[in-house]
Symmetry: C2
Subunit: 218 residues, 2 copies
DNA sequence: ATAAATTTTTAGACTAACCTAAAAAATATA
DNA sequence: TATATTTTTTAGGTTAGTCTAAAAATTTAT
């Protein structure tokens, strides 16, 4: 079994591994967890003894198969709880992260299986991120940044890259909702801003926004 | 804010105070928490500094008003989660305690308020124990042990004294369910066993069982 | 390729929450 | 009431997880 803290390290390494290929550096982990590199070194040694990571001094860490499965399970719990909070308890998508950070550490396989069923086996969390299955496998869909669409192309809005509450609230205000179809009406060369239509509304969004929204090409 | 461990101490003191009147002894707390008296002394000093208990050396502890409210809130969370597990996730009443022990430490007022509403503001947990309200107030109903009923008297089964999974599973096996009417058909002087009827079934139960079942006199 | 800068590790210290063993206080008993 | 027993506290130690500061290894730049 893993402690609260060990689980946080595993989850962080898991997320960092998803976009990096190479071993994860001590500093990268420290930055993500808002802790010191020396603390990371200590913990990484312990995780290595528990056989969830491979660690060679000065070389960073990689998850073992066991570590990956363990980490995916924590992410699975996090995302299932997020769905629960939004679907059943009327949380908005910018409020769920903190609470899910706590709930993800609850240890009870039955709880998670039943929750999964209660939620009708969701495949994605409220931000569009995929929920790992019981074996820790992620089904990654081919998604692109909205900024890659050309004029007159369209796609379904499927996720966000930045899931800070500021950004999510901004999307709420603009009326940009996951699952809706977005069409690019104009693309401004000057500042890469876009004129888009969503749900029969037209709106103009900056490149920064378009770089944080994922769409599935239709 | 209180740590996991501090919350467990508060909850324990709260429960012990419910049937004792006097200050709670170091040993009583240690026994309940399966820890050592010296550990209790340490923690009790810390709780006293945080103004949730009154502590005088060698005299035991009592909760302050603030401590009582804090503790009641933990109990409230525990019992609401138990209702959730039974009502929504198909746990049986003998499986919920362990998981609720973890869930009760989740910190999010909104979560608990929404959960309360989602469950339609339940007043009792699956074992018949009352759920403290938002202000930490408990509505205690007048209940009696089944063993105090005389021949031909009856009552509604409203709770259990022993909520060990062994006892709860035993009740399941016998078909004794909270909310049902129980009538005492015979009372055996020799061993204080009872012949009762519940849901049109007749069954014989020992004094030990009758001493662990609460009924509300009709 | 050597020096400078950065990253990582080590060494030593701190806090929370526990422990054991011994001392002190309270309570029970003769 | 004096003594024995029990309860509680104190003193000192342990472990997990963190920290700072210094040393060592690696990487970058000249």
């Amino acid at each position: 079994m893993f402690t609260h803290s060990e689980e946080n390290y595993l989850k962080t390494i898991y997320h960092l591994e998803l976009d990096s290929e190479k071993g994860i550096s001590t500093n990268a982990i420290a930055k993500q967890l808002e802790t010191k590199a020396s603390s990371v070194t200590d913990m990484v040694k312990k995780l290595s003894e528990k056989e969830v990571v491979i660690y060679k001094k000065y070389k960073g860490v990689t998850l073992t198969a066991f570590g990956k499965k363990t980490a995916a399970n924590i992410v699975r719990k996090h995302r299932l709880w997020e769905v629960f909070l939004v679907e059943k308890l009327n949380f908005s998508w910018d409020e769920v992260h903190e609470v899910a950070e706590q709930l993800e550490h609850i240890k009870s396989p039955k709880l998670i299986n039943q929750l999964d069923a209660f939620l009708s086996f969701p495949t994605h969390d409220p931000h569009g991120d995929p929920i790992p299955d019981k074996n820790g496998n992620l089904k990654t869909i081919e998604k692109s940044l909205l900024s890659t669409l050309q004029k007159n192309e369209c796609g379904i809005c499927v996720g966000v890259d930045d899931s800070s509450s500021e950004f999510l609230q901004f999307l709420d205000k603009k009326g940009i909702i996951l699952g809706e179809k977005i069409t690019v009406l104009e693309k401004e060369e000057f500042d890469d801003s876009l004129q888009i239509s969503i749900q029969d509304k037209k709106l103009s969004i900056s490149n920064k926004i378009a770089n944080n929204l994922y769409i599935k090409k239709a």
